[in-house]
Symmetry: C2
Subunit: 107 residues, 2 copies
DNA sequence: TTTATATATGAAAAAAATTTCATATAATAA
DNA sequence: TTATTATATGAAATTTTTTTCATATATAAA
């Protein structure tokens, strides 16, 4: 059973794609700029951007040989809500020792 | 690099856990009731609940041999925001043919 | 019209998440 | 006590997602 919820989380619920959305919150950026800013490998970034585009979180336009990405206003709002929540609950979230417990150092 | 964002999405960004949070939006429920309502297999549900608990999205209390789960008000708000967004963009999201393209029937 | 730059694509490899399964525990009832 | 119900745990199997890699395309510059 696949519904919109799955697509939403597939696109949205990922660290790098969320970072991309946050970066695009302030300003339009082309792929190369995102790459430098976020230190994501070129092909990964390209895959992530495609995913975000397909789920309509962002839009693109061409300019010379660059492709300039822009976040949609609705996406921006949602990203801000979620960011606020994460910030507020940071300490609790970091205490989660179920998932990624080794990395979190709490066995 | 693991930060609060990862923990947030690990717990929140999953279909079944999101369904659990939605069910708990209306009323407190024990594990058995959630199981019936959502048709999630017992051990899976238990793992999911543990994950949600650890990331502080929900709370539990004991009552006899049952464990009654309750969503936190802040989580509820966020779930509502996200639900609204998913509903609004449902058609776009369903058109996403990058992820899960076979299941979506659009090759 | 070749070369360089910016970005995209697709398949295979690797990593991570989810599911399954066998079993454990805790509380109540018989 | 022993049995039963409700739920949790941990490890192995499976599935899904992410990353890597090799290559393609499109635009502009030389």
């Amino acid at each position: 059973m696949t519904d919109a919820t799955d697509f939403f989380f597939d696109a949205f619920g990922n660290r790098n794609r969320f970072r991309i959305l946050k970066s695009l919150g302030n300003k339009e950026l082309c792929a190369g700029e995102l790459q430098k800013e976020l230190m994501i490998e070129q092909t990964n970034l390209s895959h992530d951007l495609k995913c975000l585009l397909n789920c309509q979180f962002i839009t693109v336009r061409k300019s010379g040989r660059k492709r300039i990405y822009k976040i949609k206003p609705e996406t921006k709002e949602l990203v801000e809500e979620v960011s606020k929540h994460i910030k507020k609950y940071e300490l609790y979230l970091k205490k989660c020792n179920i998932i990624k417990e080794e990395e979190n150092g709490e066995i």
